[in-house]
Amino acid sequence: MDIFLQLTVSGLSTGMIYALAAAGLVVIYKASDVINFAQGDLLLLGTYLVFFSVAQTGLPWSLGVLLTLLLAVAVALAVERLVLRPLVGEPIISMIMVTIGLSSVLRGVIGAIWGPNPRSFDSFLPAGELAFGPATLATDRVLSIPIALAVLAGLGFFFRFTRDGIAMRAIADDQQAALSMGISIPRVFGVAWGLAAVSAAIGGIMLAGIVGVSPNVGSIGLRVFPVVILGGLDSIGGAVLGGAVIGLLEVYIGFYVGHGLNLVVPYVVLVLVLMIRPYGLFGKEVIERV
């Protein structure tokens, strides 16, 4: 039973990091109908930026995290302005390929600056273990769950109550109508990329503590697709639930079944969801159908 608890916590914490990355994907998709294949690389950027801001500059944690977020937002805004803006209205294949190109550039630049070797540094989450009855769980993993939930709740709050959030929903609903109501689409796209960078950077900061700083972190970008499809491409709540389900599925199957099946089952789920309920659990039911 204690193993089961341990697996559950570890699955949930992985799931919440998926959810953070997925939330970035959702925000960008909601605002601009672009699916961002570089989301994993934004996460990767987050881990290296926090390594830079804290371990390399020697700043205290609070300032280091702030610097990380600022740098991540700056990169995202530059990317939106230079790469995505010129392609607004282009076919989907262009949008997909441009974010794939972006992912390659980010990975190349990060690799050129920080090299291939994993780096390590003192985590900002306290190390050590917590005892839950018979099970002992790593503190940083346990703590990452409420942190992620808080950030995701903040994003949900943003969409429901703030001016930019409502503008973003308006644009997702009907771009023409939103434009004629005086909503600035470039501004909203910028905000969307900024938010995606923030949620990815926070995910990156937690990953830096939990699994360390290494180029492999970027592979999470692909593992996020089952999460967003399961939850619905335009739902933050769906990202949370999808993240939890996929995270748990991965650890349970990894432990009880093995054979690397934990890596492939999420994609089988993805295909099933696409065939049965393509808009996901919480997505809006208007998707392009044939």
């Binding site: 699916i35 790469v83 010129p86 392609l87 282009e90 076919p91 989907i92 294949i93 262009s94 997909i96 390929m97 441009v98 794939i100 190109g101 972006l102 992912s103 390659s104 550039v105 980010l106 990975r107 190349g108 630049v109 690799g111 050129a112 692909l222 697709f225 089952p226 499809i229 491409l233 054979h259 690397g260 099946l261 890596l263 492939v264 994609y267 089988v268 993805l270 295909v271 696409l274 065939m275 393509p278 998707i287 392009e288 159908r289 044939v290």
Partner: protein
């Protein structure tokens, strides 16, 4: 020689011809001569690269039929090539099927698998289809590495070299002729397909599927056919990789491979056969050139040489982004512009055929 100021066909044969104008035929002749003479002057390094370009051209033409002409985005091309490679390799290795037959069989098997993975296109399009093919890629990749009994898992499979008339074709020089003939055949096949009823149906589905169905195109059947044709060529390319390298490893058929091929057709030009070749050449040669640069400055500037693999990755991304922003119709369009300029030279007032294909 008379100066042309436009294209004026007077016969239907000329209008329907693939290469109706003398200039086009001369250009093709020069290119054919170059291809014929190339292996006699080039060293083994360049021959190897040429073979890679030829194989990539086959795969890129296949992907372009699906993505460029039919508008169905696939991130699973690498998986289809894997199925071609493993099928042909295993047929020859275990059952002793002659290499020619096993390559053809592999292409057919891949076409069937491709049509199967095209089934989601019944309900999905655009983004959702792209994600479904991504899942297909991941599932096939898992199969390659974990179905150890058949694929050997992470171990490489060694494939016997092809034999023709008792001669072992294990050199790049010998393989060159097979590769070039296949690439040429694939190009001819695609060019003829695109101007047939089926090819026109592909383009109709891409441009407006509802309108296509109204004028009598069976949309779903057309999409499946596009998936099958595209996968046939992907399987062919995969099988040729197996026989070119004489070795099959799963690393050559990952999602990165799918992305590489998508990059080829984006950079070359969507829906263009010439573009498939130009894109395949650029995307194959660019990393090789950067590698060369790395080796040449290894001693003088080791710091820069150490960073070059990453620079290579970044340059790959930058090339895709720049083409998408500045020339979405790719190298094919650039070449078309050059031709158009000289076509009516020195008269600039009338542009001839644009570089559609």
């Amino acid at each position: 020689m008379s100066l042309e100021c436009g294209v004026f066909h007077t016969r239907y044969e000329a209008d329907m011809g693939l290469r109706p104008r003398p200039v086009q035929r001369i250009r093709l002749g020069v290119f054919a001569l170059f291809v014929l003479l190339f292996p006699f002057v080039a060293g083994p390094y360049w021959l190897n690269l040429a073979n890679q370009v030829a194989i990539a051209t086959v795969g890129a033409i296949g992907l372009n039929l699906l993505v460029g002409s039919t508008g169905q985005i696939s991130l699973g091309h690498g998986a289809f090539m894997a199925i071609g490679a493993y099928t042909s390799g295993l047929l020859t290795l275990h059952l002793g099927v002659p290499w020619g037959a096993s390559i053809f069989a592999a292409a057919l098997v891949t076409a069937a698998v491709g049509a199967f993975f095209g089934l989601p296109s019944l309900r999905l399009k655009g983004l959702y289809l792209a994600i479904a093919t991504l899942a297909a890629q991941e599932i096939v990749e898992w199969g390659m590495t974990n179905w150890t009994a058949v694929t050997g898992g992470a171990e490489a499979i060694v494939v016997p070299a092809p034999v023709l008339f008792g001669v072992r074709l294990n050199s790049d020089f010998a393989f060159y002729w097979i590769a070039v003939l296949t690439a040429g055949g694939a190009a001819l096949f695609a060019a003829n397909l695109l101007r047939s009823r089926v090819g026109r149906a592909f383009e109709a589905v891409r441009d407006q599927d509802i309108a296509a169905s109204v004028i009598g195109v069976d949309v779903f059947r057309t999409k499946l056919l596009a998936f099958a044709t595209s996968s046939f060529l992907a399987g062919l390319a995969g099988a040729m990789i197996a026989f070119h390298r004489n070795i099959i490893t799963w690393e050559r058929f990952t999602l990165s491979t799918s992305i590489l091929f998508l990059a080829m057709i984006i950079v070359g030009g969507l829906g263009s056969i010439r573009g498939s070749f130009l894109g395949a050449a650029l995307i194959t040669l660019l990393p090789a050139m950067i590698d060369n640069l790395g080796r040449s400055i290894q001693d003088t500037a080791p710091q820069i040489a150490a960073v070059l693999p990453y620079a290579q990755q970044a340059v790959f991304g930058i090339v895709i982004i720049l083409f998408l922003i500045f020339e979405p119709r790719g190298l094919s369009r650039l070449w078309g512009n050059v031709k158009d300029y000289f076509h009516v030279w020195p008269f600039a007032y009338r542009r001839g055929e644009s570089g559609a294909r």
